[in-house]
């Protein structure tokens, strides 16, 4: 299907040595969590690999069948713990979709968009920083964390939490935001726009970084489609697909933003560099959305008054997806009219994105393996649920 990428210097596989079975993970600094790959190597070249997941399985779906919808929101925080706002939003939209006539106040919709996009920036900052670290550049990581901290501080002032927010809930958001928070967000936008250039200077144009990522782990469009890869990984392969634009949820259809796609500017279309670059550019686009949303945020209630007492969606099924920072996060929610879901299925983007690792890492080197896993940007909390 796709030609596995072979580093040019080793295309002829000049000298063969004895094969070795290497166990990468579950505790390895570059597997981004408790993820295990068993690699069969010939010297430093990966002949074959097998992924093992499940070390972080904590029965999210089973939990949702035993606690109320509102309590389930709390568990969604722990899925992709770097994009908790997006997870909250997806689950809330899924629950809201079960109702027929629920109207979400405008102010709540704006706050949701602002939070989700800020969280996307924070998540991409972490992805870029840790990616640099995987390649061996430690300094960009701390620059990214410096800016991520500013976003987390804004979130802390909004909902009192820095990581697991439990903020966006069915019917609106948990608390209103005040003028000081809006001012803080505006300040951040002003601060961050020039800072984004720093990442370009630190990493994107670094010759070693380009050589380590360009032409490595090429993910062809066909392979990406077959594996259901979404998010920056898919866009890195040149597919212009973004649910915020193509299947708009919340109020995304009102905002003006671009969808960056990979161009193969430094190597082959769909290589690690393209996936990385898509993330860098997406941060700018997210910033544009935040700026627009903040400038037109209306007054009014921050949650609907249609839900009174216990949250009891009517009997039925709903499927919702949102464009999270790692791809399309979906929830299939089945309600039997009680305040506890009958069945919740989480369609996690990282679960799809990591399942193709075997296919794109064949023929790469061990150092490339790290670069490839990093460029897929997985969060094991979401893969294992």
């Amino acid at each position: 299907m796709n030609a596995p990428h072979i580093p040019k210097a080793f295309a002829a596989s000049d000298v063969r040595s004895e094969e070795m079975l290497l166990n990468m993970g579950p505790q390895h600094p570059s597997t981004h969590g408790v993820f295990r790959v068993v690699i069969r190597t010939d010297g430093e070249i990966v002949i074959d690999s097998e992924s093992h997941v499940g070390y972080l399985h904590r029965c999210f779906e089973k939990h949702c069948e035993s606690v109320s919808f509102l309590q389930s929101v709390l568990y969604t925080d722990r899925l992709d713990y770097l994009t908790s706002m997006g997870n909250n939003l997806a689950f809330s939209l899924g629950v809201e979709r079960l109702f027929t006539d629920l109207v979400i106040p405008e102010r709540a919709e704006h706050i949701r968009v602002i939070c989700a996009e800020l969280n996307r920036i924070a998540s991409h900052l972490l992805a870029i920083g840790t990616y640099g670290m995987d390649i061996g550049a430690i300094t960009p990581f701390l620059y990214c964390f410096r800016d991520r901290e500013k976003i987390l501080s804004i979130f802390e002032s909004i909902c009192g939490q820095r990581l697991n927010y439990n903020y966006v809930r069915p019917g609106g958001v948990a608390y209103d935001i005040d003028d000081s928070m809006i001012a803080a967000i505006k300040d951040f936008c002003k601060y961050f726009r020039p800072k984004a250039q720093e990442y370009d200077d630190l990493l994107s144009n670094n010759d070693i970084f380009v050589r380590r990522t360009a032409n490595v782990g090429v993910l062809s469009k066909e392979l990406a489609l077959s594996y259901g890869v979404t998010g920056p990984c898919l866009r890195g392969s040149g597919v212009k697909r973004d649910l915020r634009r193509d299947l708009p949820y919340s109020i995304y259809s009102r905002f003006d933003f671009e969808i960056p796609v990979g161009t193969g500017e430094r190597g082959t279309l769909g290589d690690c560099y393209d996936r990385y670059m898509v993330r860098v550019r997406e941060m700018i686009e997210s910033l544009r959305i935040v700026e627009q949303a903040v400038s037109q945020i209306p007054d009014g209630p921050f949650k609907t008054d249609q839900i009174k007492g216990k949250l009891r969606p009517p009997k039925g099924e709903s499927f919702i997806r949102v464009e999270n920072s790692r791809g399309e996060l979906g929830f299939y929610i089945i309600s039997d009219g009680k305040d506890v879901a009958y069945r919740v299925k989480c369609r996690a983007p990282s679960f799809h994105n990591i399942s193709l690792l075997t296919d794109i890492s064949r023929g790469a080197m061990i150092a490339d393996m790290v670069a490839i896993i990093g460029s897929l940007d997985i969060v094991m909390g979401e893969v294992d649920r």
């Binding site: 596989s13 000049d14 000298v15 063969r16 040595s17 004895e18």
Partner: protein, 169 residues
């Protein structure tokens, strides 16, 4: 006893004891490290003889180059208990081995005792580096170049053989 003599004994011990251990050791990696010690002893002897350039050439070539490559090769082989250990001796091989060893030892002893060793009084020897360089580029330039070409041929040949085998696979 002056200090060169003492150092001579030290270096002789550093050369011979590891050499003995190479014969007696059964672990291939340990053996490689004993070889390392033995080669350093020889380098020390060279230095003691005033041939300091030769001594450090010994370290550069044998320890820095060849020993690293030997270790490299050993590590690349599987860590197999059978491969890593040398075979057990049986009675027959011991007898034959002893026989061969004693014959060659006798021969060596005879040669050593028959040779008339020249006794040179210790002198403060001049620097060895520039005479070596001059000799290599004047009187011995042809052998020097021939050896270089031979080494180049060996290098190319090794690369060629390794490549051929990979293609056959």
């Amino acid at each position: 006893m002056d200090w060169p003599t003492i150092m001579w004994w030290v270096f002789a011990a550093v050369t011979l004891i590891p050499a003995l251990m190479i014969v007696l050791s059964k672990d291939i990696v340990r053996l490689a490290f004993w070889l390392l010690a033995s080669l350093s002893g020889i380098a020390g002897l060279y230095v003691l003889l005033g041939a300091d350039f030769l001594g450090f050439a010994q370290i550069l070539v044998y320890i820095g180059g060849i020993m690293v490559l030997i270790l490299f090769g050993i590590m690349m082989t599987n860590r197999d208990a059978v491969l890593m250990r040398r075979g057990e001796n049986t009675g027959g091989t011991t007898v034959v081995g002893l026989l061969i060893a004693s014959v060659s030892a006798l021969g060596l002893l005879k040669v050593i005792s028959d040779t008339k060793w020249k006794e040179v009084p210790p002198v403060d020897m001049p620097a060895t580096t520039s005479p070596i360089g001059e000799a290599l580029l004047t009187d011995y330039v042809l052998p020097f170049e021939l050896v270089s070409i031979l080494l180049l041929v060996v290098l190319c040949g090794a690369a060629y053989i390794a490549r051929r085998r990979a293609e056959e696979n």
